[in-house]
């Protein structure tokens, strides 16, 4: 380890290195703390961290530049990030953010001249049931209105540390409106592990197979097959990873599970550890949910004290398992399992090439199971009550229940747990949707449903979902929704592969062109062509699904595009007359000959 040339920076980072350790896998966690200390990652910190961890500076800069919550330039003492999901927009986000900026005399995306505050947008923060939402230095602000923002402005002007702000600003409700087997029935910590110990690993896997449990993260892969493959893959260690990245806009059910049912989630991870033979588990918690970290750690401590974690769990000889929590830092792509593993290793969140798959070569190249939060909660119940019980709920191909995150135009946004097979119409009735017109199922990467399709069912046979359910009433413009989603994907593309890095930008630019009244029929064809290209040629699911909202709305709501189009067949994206505006201003001309 070389000494660092920036003693004042090194001094402030020393306790961080002490706390975090010095493995290269700690890089992201260390940079998150550095960001807190300096309000950005100064160049000197890049050098110090590189020297301390013994990695190239480019690796540190690569990570610091990848994640939205890290920055290479100062973002001020207070960084306020408004959640940019379409549901926040429908609740008034654009106007509120403008109001906030005007009162603070800052421009969005710029730090104030006194380095006090910066204001910007951020991808959905997972508070759609209590938006408009924002983050201040990583802490969630909910149900924002002018009054609450006035208070925030006062606190910032008074330079009050965020830790001392009134707690009511940070209240996050669970908003559970319908509970089923996961949320509604009491769960005794340890019940699943006990049953698994009695049954043994092999038989527990059999129960998971019997249950027909399929992954709740969206893809619906049979959980027993994943666990079985990991179990039989050779390695020096096996790992269990819980995917709590929950980055899909409109999804917030994992937030609620981790807030009020964390025991059940950790229990599912422990059962998985028993099955695959893992001694270590990792929970990847999205940066937006950092406020849950302390409580989760307390839960882990409680479980350790109760003998549900640590050595010889519940007296099972050789059954040792520990769980560690890693924080994300604002990157939707880190929900993709192989990008998540890269991030756990302290790297840029770039999806890996497959094969090999994580079950054989995952975290630290070892066999790894990556499952969604809700999948583990189900697994805990299955271990406790058996596979047949679980398989009896839901539909033939989709057993069990599904937790939906309902938001948008409805009287009671929040959490609804149903047996699989429920129709969209039933959900709409339960949440008090008035004159529903469209629903975005499973977030931007999912499906846009029109009112003609409300009899479709939530299940893998028909409408698979990771849980988002965003309601749009009559009169809403679905073009705006698709534009918002196109912006989201362009912002979140990791940039690794050509079709998605460039394609998501082109898609966004064409949507902007149409929104600006310059679109033509050929632009619609271009959108379709781009969609096909991204689906056919992209590296991972982000690029494959990024065209979905545009293609779906084009098909189901073509009038919302067409009424914006010019009558022409084609108009160039480049506005020649507009480009001459500066020349006109300089020469003071505005006559006929000064225009084209």
């Amino acid at each position: 380890m070389e000494p660092c040339e920036f003693p004042h920076i090194e001094q402030q980072l020393t306790p961080v290195f002490k706390r975090q350790g010095q493995g290269a896998d700690r890089l992201l966690q260390i940079l998150l703390e550095a960001q807190d200390i300096f309000h950005y990652i100064p160049a000197g910190a890049l050098d110090c961290v590189a020297a301390q961890l013994g990695v190239p500076r480019t690796r540190v800069e690569g990570v610091a530049g990848f994640y939205s919550f890290l920055s290479l330039e100062s973002v001020g003492e207070y960084r306020v990030l408004f959640s940019d999901n379409i549901t926040d927009h429908m609740l008034g986000k654009p106007e509120l953010m403008q109001y906030f900026c005007n009162k603070l005399w800052v421009e969005p995306g710029r730090v104030s001249e006194d380095d006090l505050v910066s204001v910007d947008s951020t991808s959905c923060t997972g508070m759609c049931d209590q938006g408009p939402a924002a983050l201040v230095n990583g802490w969630p602000l909910t149900s924002l209105d002018h009054n609450r923002l006035d208070l925030v402005i006062e606190l910032i002007r008074a330079r009050k540390p965020v830790a001392d702000w009134p707690p009511m600003l940070f209240e996050v409700g669970d908003n559970i409106h319908r509970a089923g087997v996961l949320l509604g029935e009491p769960f005794e910590a340890g019940a699943g592990i006990k049953a698994a110990l009695v049954r043994g690993a092999e038989a527990t896997l059999k129960e998971v197979e019997l249950s027909n449990l399929r992954g709740r993260g969206g893809a619906g892969f049979p959980t027993s097959r994943k666990w079985g493959a990991c179990r039989s893959s050779p390695g020096t260690a096996h790992y269990v990873v819980c995917n709590a990245d929950e980055g899909e806009p409109g999804t917030f059910k994992d937030r609620v599970l981790l807030t009020s049912h964390a025991d059940q989630v950790f229990e599912g991870m422990t059962v998985a550890a028993r099955v695959v033979g893992a001694a270590k588990g990792l929970l990847y918690l999205r940066g937006e949910y950092r406020y849950l970290l302390q409580r989760l750690q307390e839960t882990l401590a409680r479980r350790r004290a109760a003998g549900l974690l640590g050595r010889s769990i519940l007296g099972g000889a050789g059954f040792d398992f520990e769980i560690e929590i890693h924080l994300g830092a604002g990157a939707y792509i880190c929900g993709e399992e192989s990008a998540l593993i890269e991030s756990l290793e302290g790297k840029r969140g770039r999806p890996r090439n497959r094969p090999p798959f994580p079950v054989a070569h995952g975290y630290l190249d070892q066999p790894t199971v990556v499952d969604n939060v809700e999948t583990f909660a189900c697994a805990a119940r299955i271990a406790e009550k058996g596979g047949a019980w679980f398989a009896g709920i839901g539909t033939p191909e989709s057993s069990g229940s599904k937790i939906l995150s309902v938001s948008g135009d409805c009287a009671r946004p929040g959490i609804y747990e149903y047996p699989f097979g429920v129709t969209v119409r039933e959900v709409l009735a339960d949440c008090g949707a008035e004159e529903p017109f469209a629903v975005q199922v499973s977030g931007p990467s999912g499906t846009t449903l029109s009112w003609r399709e409300f009899d479709r069912r939530i299940c893998f046979e028909d409408l698979p979902t990771a849980g988002a359910f965003m309601v749009f009433r009559r009169g809403r413009d679905m073009f705006d929704a698709a534009s918002n989603f196109a912006r989201f994907f362009a912002h979140e593309s990791c940039g690794f592969c050509t079709p998605c890095r460039v394609g998501t930008q082109l898609q966004r630019k064409i949507m902007d062109k149409i929104a600006g009244g310059h679109g033509t029929a050929s632009d619609l064809e271009e959108l379709k062509g781009l969609g096909r290209l991204m689906k056919d040629m992209s590296h991972c699911g982000l690029g494959h699904t990024a065209p979905n909202p545009v293609l779906d709305t084009l098909e189901k709501f073509p009038d919302m595009y067409e009424r914006r189009l010019k009558a022409l067949a084609f108009e160039p994206a480049f506005d020649l007359d507009g480009a001459l505006a500066t020349a006109r201003r300089i020469t003071g001309r505005d006559d006929e000959w000064a225009h084209v």
């Binding site: 800069e61 592969c497 050509t498």
Partner: protein
């Protein structure tokens, strides 16, 4: 049918551990590619080498060859998609071939000729990217960088220096240099490094070499990239 696969109907042998790309190259079958160079670990980012295997699209440079694979490569659909990818690469950077020293030796340009790319098609992004002329012998012009990471891999795998890396995300992804100033002149790069030889475009140029080989007598002026690369020429 053991240890063979077919590419566009032609039966091709492979050795275990080879990728589809490896097997194709060994058999003299050209699959277009930019970020791949057989000397380095496959990367799979440019997606030019996408082929269709039993109905699914896969990157041939990273996909292990397997017995019985039916691979489609030289088809109008795939070449059309590849042309679009090239147009994307041209659109996102600033590629002014007529004034670029690499013209005629550039893989990006040569592939555009090979695939019949006759227009830019997409709106140009005209990004503002940094040029780094601080090194005495090497010029880094990020305007022409396609983020293939060949220099990154070469510097790390061959030179053992880790001079290059990527930072940023999405369209903001950019090449960064391992030096406290971020400048090439302050890095450990030497003109003889492998990293300087592998750039497929004009993003990394050796200084004072300009037009030593006149235009018209350069690598791809005589033979298309498909021929040069199946004969083993990559740098």
């Amino acid at each position: 049918m053991s240890d063979t696969l077919t590419i566009d109907g032609k039966e091709i042998p492979y050795r275990p551990g080879q990728t589809i790309m490896d097997a194709a190259m060994a058999a003299g079958v050209y699959i277009p590619h930019l970020c791949h160079n057989p000397e380095f670990k496959p990367h799979g980012s440019c997606k030019l080498c996408m082929v269709n295997v039993n109905g699914r699209n896969v990157a041939s440079c990273t996909m292990p060859a397997a017995s019985g694979m039916t691979v489609l490569n030289d088809t109008p659909e795939l070449n059309g998609a590849r042309r679009s990818l090239l147009q994307m690469l041209f659109a996102e950077g600033n590629h002014l071939c007529p004034v670029c020293e690499r013209s005629g030796n550039c893989h990006l340009q040569a592939l555009a000729y090979y695939l019949g790319m006759t227009n830019p098609h997409y709106v140009q992004f005209y990004p503002s990217r940094e040029v780094d002329a601080s090194h005495p012998d090497v010029l880094l012009d990020r305007n022409r960088c396609i983020m293939c990471e060949l220099c990154v891999r070469a510097s790390s795998e061959v030179d053992g220096k880790d001079v290059f890396g990527l930072s940023g995300r999405g369209i903001q992804t950019r090449l960064v240099v391992n030096a406290p100033t971020g400048l090439l002149g302050d890095s450990a790069l030497a003109v003889s490094d492998k990293a300087v030889q592998v750039c497929p475009t004009g993003a990394l140029l050796i200084k004072r070499q300009g037009y030593r080989v006149p235009v018209g007598r350069r690598m791809f002026d005589h033979k298309p990239i498909s021929v040069v690369q199946t004969e083993g020429g990559h740098d």
